[in-house]
Subunit: 271 residues, 2 copies
């Protein structure tokens, strides 16, 4: 028996390899139907960033990249191919640090992550020649990608759902990566409960919850990275908040520099 | 219809206010029974840190605390009562930084978090006098707390389950708090998939996943902080890995100083 107020995390089976131009919402709707599932109002569809990037053609053939002098300087420090470094630099607005095997940047979106989210695994590109190495970049505007998918799901199924595009990021202080929301549409990703009262009537002081990232972490539990990869997870039964319009999506989860005391110690006003 | 391989997040209803000495596993087992639920092998029971702390009597009456000179120095910077600061200092091995309203420390467990996890909300202590302010401290050894609960659940129900004690922490780079695992028993909290091969036969390079924190985030989605608080969530259907013995629990998720390039820039070897 599953109580009415439970939340289900449902892996969507049988998602094929995604190619540029694929209609992801249509493919997912078909695979849900094959599993006797129909989207319902309030569902959240979580998609691994990689399949969104591939469907949008955010792919680079390493053979066609010309490495700059800076990329050549960084490459041996990062223990990476200079062309690969160039692709990461092109996706970044700031290099945070480099050490062997670790290349952390701030992307143009403001994500602080390894390798600007650029990844070489699981790429199969039509017309690829032997020896080609293809890299998948993050979506250019993941919130827009999520919004476009949300609209397409509505067209195909009539359901008002939320869409979440997730990735795995490492973090300071804690070991291991966790799911994070790169883009969302149709849900409040950052929930501010300050000023609400708790069970005893105290006013809560510090309760701002990154619901978008918690949903991404939940979906990530079922996605896996290796052979059994499941790039789409349906989250059903979650009582999330509806966003105001325009929907700012997961951009709310990016910490602005003036609130970042780690990278900018000048923000630590005292002590 | 819910597919067999889905994961359910089930809020456990009707958990009463917890007092020191309460048998949490017994209370939870009773409330599950009242909801027609029985623990099964492989279930994960996620408990909010506060109820574990209260059941263990990890409570301090602010009236009985004597503030040191250091606490008096920090108090105006943190905009907190000096006695409250003293309690946080007693729970910490290092002050990371202080600014108005923000007091970040490293706890004796190694958690980098605000206020050493010390919290004043939702405390109702027997024998409390008017004007008393009670603070709840983190469990002294959250992995041991989880292991003890796991054993007690086994005694009461016969089920081999995993136990997770979770809290909400802020993070650098990202806005809002997310659920994190303070303690676990019976599951691998940090899953190392390096060396496994992906769908195309590439060897995965950087796939170490903080499953314990992702489970904590998932449970946190249902816990809420305010009036409707639900301090216990049953996670059913999750295929987690069994830990080696001795079970190191969520201690694996704490980043050791020699792998921390943020707090210790000397660890950034290059660039």
């Amino acid at each position: 028996m599953t109580p009415d107020n439970s939340v289900q995390l449902i892996p969507v089976p049988g998602i094929p390899l995604i190619k540029p131009g694929d209609d992801l919402a249509e493919i997912i709707t078909q695979q849900l139907a094959a599993a006797n599932l129909t989207l319902q109002d309030g569902d959240v569809v979580a998609l691994a960033q990689k399949i969104v990037s591939k469907s949008e053609g955010r792919l680079v053939n390493l053979r066609q990249v010309v490495a700059s002098e800076r990329a050549h300087q960084i490459a041996p420090l990062a223990d990476k191919n200079p062309r690969h470094v160039q692709v990461i630099l092109d996706e970044s607005r700031e290099v945070i640090w480099v050490s062997p095997g670790i290349f952390v940047v701030e992307t143009h979106h403001g994500f602080v992550c390894a390798n600007a989210g650029v990844d070489r695994s699981n790429i199969e590109q039509p017309g690829a020649e032997e020896g080609d190495i293809w890299l998948a970049l993050l979506p250019k505007d993941p919130n827009q990608s999520a919004a476009t998918l949300k609209t397409r799901f509505k067209e195909l199924t009539g359901a008002n759902i939320a869409v979440l595009i997730n990735d795995t990021h490492g973090r300071p202080f804690r070991m291991g990566g966790v799911g994070v929301a790169l883009g969302t549409a149709g849900l409040v990703a950052l929930v501010d409960e300050r000023g609400e009262r708790d069970m005893f009537g105290y006013t809560l002081q510090n309760t701002v919850v990154a619901t978008g990232d918690e949903l991404a972490g939940a979906a990530s539990l079922l996605m896996g990275q290796a052979a059994e990869a499941t790039p789409v997870v349906l989250i059903r039964g979650m009582r999330y908040r509806q966003p105001k319009q325009p929907d700012t999506g997961a951009a709310d989860l990016v910490r602005p520099p003036n609130k970042d005391v780690f990278r900018y110690p000048a923000n630590r006003k005292e002590f």
